[in-house]
């Protein structure tokens, strides 16, 4: 079988540029994504981990057609996919947003919210049938159909948002920090549901988060994003046990010590500075301004991805295969 058949979603060289007004008369390009490539297998979860401004949400917006992209190739199950004119395949990809309070229409009942994406595709009876299926799947009470979002807790609201995303039976679920607005118990509940979905419905998903331990819990593979560039990709164990990029290592070392059962390091990370502005990023490696091992070449040439194992890829001049 060809490579594309093994992967449900393949994204190659995706670039997105926003125009940002920097002064009254001037607009400058902001390169949110600079040639991002990754793939997601069937019934696999890929976590995209990065800090604010790294472009994580832009990836999801570009794939789902909410933002147009400059260039790049997206394919689903080997078929080229164009989000911009994807009315026919609108049901293939669903997006769950970070904040259920703003993503759910407060004037509609839960039943109406969840069945809305079906439009007129299905008769009313079959709509009710799928609605009940999806409510059971998300462990939501069937009485919720006639309630309004304000009558639900945060965790319940986010499950309604996930139910709405699943009603069209998509092959790919895009999750944009779905648990960051929830407390610990609700977060766990949503995570358990996502794990069940993967095994029961074979849904592939991209889980965007800034929380590496959470990524480790939900995803098989992790991609680390910095200023619009994927700096390292690997299985969850490769990322936690074989981290090679200085930025991936910094993320691991930033985790509160208690979140790591056995930690090999006693010294603390001393990282200085912050993520630079994505406007006018100079040539070379995007991480060099904060990198402890930056060399002369880092400010001249952007590092090419190096394959460390069948699944682990890193882009750093200091790391060789």
């Amino acid at each position: 079988m060809s490579r594309s058949n093994a992967h449900r979603l393949v994204v190659e060289n995706l670039s997105v540029t926003y125009k940002v007004r920097t002064s009254l008369l001037q607009k400058r390009p902001l390169h949110a994504l600079r040639g991002v490539s990754f793939n997601v297998g069937a019934a696999e979860t890929l976590a995209i981990v990065g800090e604010s401004g790294s472009g994580k949400s832009t990836i999801l917006r570009a794939i789902s057609g909410l933002t147009s992209y400059d260039h790049g190739d997206i394919s689903i199950d080997g078929e080229p996919y164009k989000p911009a004119n994807s009315n026919a395949n609108a049901a293939e990809i669903s997006l769950v947003f970070q904040n259920p309070n703003s993503s759910l229409n407060q004037r509609l009942t839960v039943g109406k919210i969840i069945t809305d994406p079906l439009h007129s595709r299905k008769s009313d009876e079959s709509q009710m049938e799928v609605l009940h299926d999806v409510l059971s799947l998300l462990k939501l009470d069937h009485d919720f159909i006639n309630r309004y979002p304000f009558q639900l807790s945060g965790g319940q609201k986010q499950r309604v948002a996930i139910a709405r995303a699943l009603i069209t039976n998509p092959r790919i679920l895009l999750l944009d920090e779905p648990t960051s607005a929830l407390d610990v118990a609700n977060q766990d509940q949503v995570v358990q549901i996502l794990l069940e979905l993967k095994s029961e419905r074979q849904v592939s998903s991209i889980f965007v988060t800034h929380d590496l331990p959470l990524a480790y819990k939900v995803a098989e593979r992790v991609a680390v994003l910095y200023l619009g560039v994927v700096v390292e990709t690997g299985t969850r164990d490769e990322i936690s046990l074989q981290a090679s990029h200085p930025y991936t290592q910094a993320l691991l070392l930033s985790i509160p010590q208690r979140k790591i059962g056995k930690h090999a390091v006693s010294k603390k990370l001393h990282m200085v500075g912050e993520v630079p502005s994505p406007i006018d990023v100079a040539a070379g490696c995007v991480f060099r301004s904060r990198c402890p091992i930056a060399m002369a070449i880092c400010s001249e040439v952007a590092p090419q991805p190096v394959q460390l194992s069948a699944t682990q890829v890193v882009a750093c001049h200091a790391v060789s295969a």
């Binding site: 331990p213 930033s254 509160p256 990282m271």
Partner: protein, 285 residues
């Protein structure tokens, strides 16, 4: 439930039977019968989920609640002085708030006045206490150095919107420290920040505590983060303290079911390691 960390030492802050009820709320009080002591130089962590009353508790301790919106009862002593906790506009508060007790807010952007420069933000609270302008300016640049802000002279002239999120939070910390407080209350100071900045701010608070020997109350919903920083932990649920003890004891043998549950559901990584054992950050030093 009360536990004195070091018996015989006069606590920097002591509150007994503190209750806060929001008016018109109708239902249960936001904070109910809370007793706590803060020893000099201690870092006390308060953990609880949203709505547990941890922010209300700390705002009451700093006299930041509005008495027309809630009723506050209890006895509070800060630095040996008794404070009228029920009335945040009382003269005792005016002497203490901002000088003996400093507050770090969660949302740095909302906490800084957008119309003032960083220097004005840091100088104003001093001059209104009668400190001469020159001395206040000197102290402002000192405190910016101590919160590890680079290029201080330029930063002093900037407005909050010109600063990044991490920088703004450092300015908020500087504003809390500028009058040499004895108690610092940090209400989720890193929740709005990225993980790499979070660890920078935690290390900064630890360093400041060691240097100035002030006492810190650190609030977070993240029990692991609190554990990294504090010597003693309070767990709050429904406005009450349901568990209290030294950090190691609370984490290793939690008594309350709720604490067990908080510890159980937090996602963790079992162990971390590096490709070929090369860890770029330490080799560099």
């Amino acid at each position: 439930m009360m536990l004195l960390p070091t018996s015989g030492v006069e606590p920097t802050l002591k509150v007994s039977n503190l209750s806060v009820a929001y008016r018109g709320g109708g239902s249960a009080p936001a904070v109910k019968d809370v007793n706590l002591d803060l020893a000099p130089g201690e870092i006390l962590g308060i953990v609880g989920e949203s709505g547990s009353g941890k922010s209300t508790l700390c705002m009451a301790l700093a006299g930041l609640l509005n008495k027309t919106q809630c009723s506050i009862t209890g006895d509070l002593t800060i630095g040996g002085r008794s404070v009228t906790i029920s009335d945040p506009e009382d003269q005792t508060w005016l002497d203490i708030r901002g000088s003996k007790i400093g507050y770090i807010f969660q949302d740095a952007h909302a906490a800084l006045n957008p119309l003032l420069t960083v220097q004005q933000i840091l100088v104003q609270p001093q001059t209104c206490r009668g400190i001469p302008m020159d001395e206040a300016k000197e102290r402002a640049s000192q405190v910016l150095h101590s919160v590890e802000i680079p290029d201080v002279p330029r930063r002093l002239r900037q407005y909050p919107h010109e600063l990044s999120g991490g920088m703004k939070q450092r300015v908020v910390i500087a504003a809390a420290l500028v009058s040499h407080p004895e108690v610092l209350i940090a209400d989720e100071p890193t929740t709005a920040l990225d993980v790499t900045l979070q660890s920078q701010i935690i290390q900064l608070l630890q360093r400041i505590q060691l240097e100035t020997e002030l006492s810190i109350i650190f609030i977070s919903h993240n029990i692991d983060l609190v554990a990294d920083l504090s010597q003693r932990i309070l767990v709050m649920q429904f406005g009450q303290i349901i568990e209290e003890g030294p950090t190691d004891r609370v984490l290793n043998s939690p008594e309350a079911d709720y604490t067990k549950y908080l510890l159980e559901f937090v996602p963790r990584i079992e162990t971390i390691g590096f490709h070929r054992g090369v860890e770029h950050w330490h080799n560099h030093e």
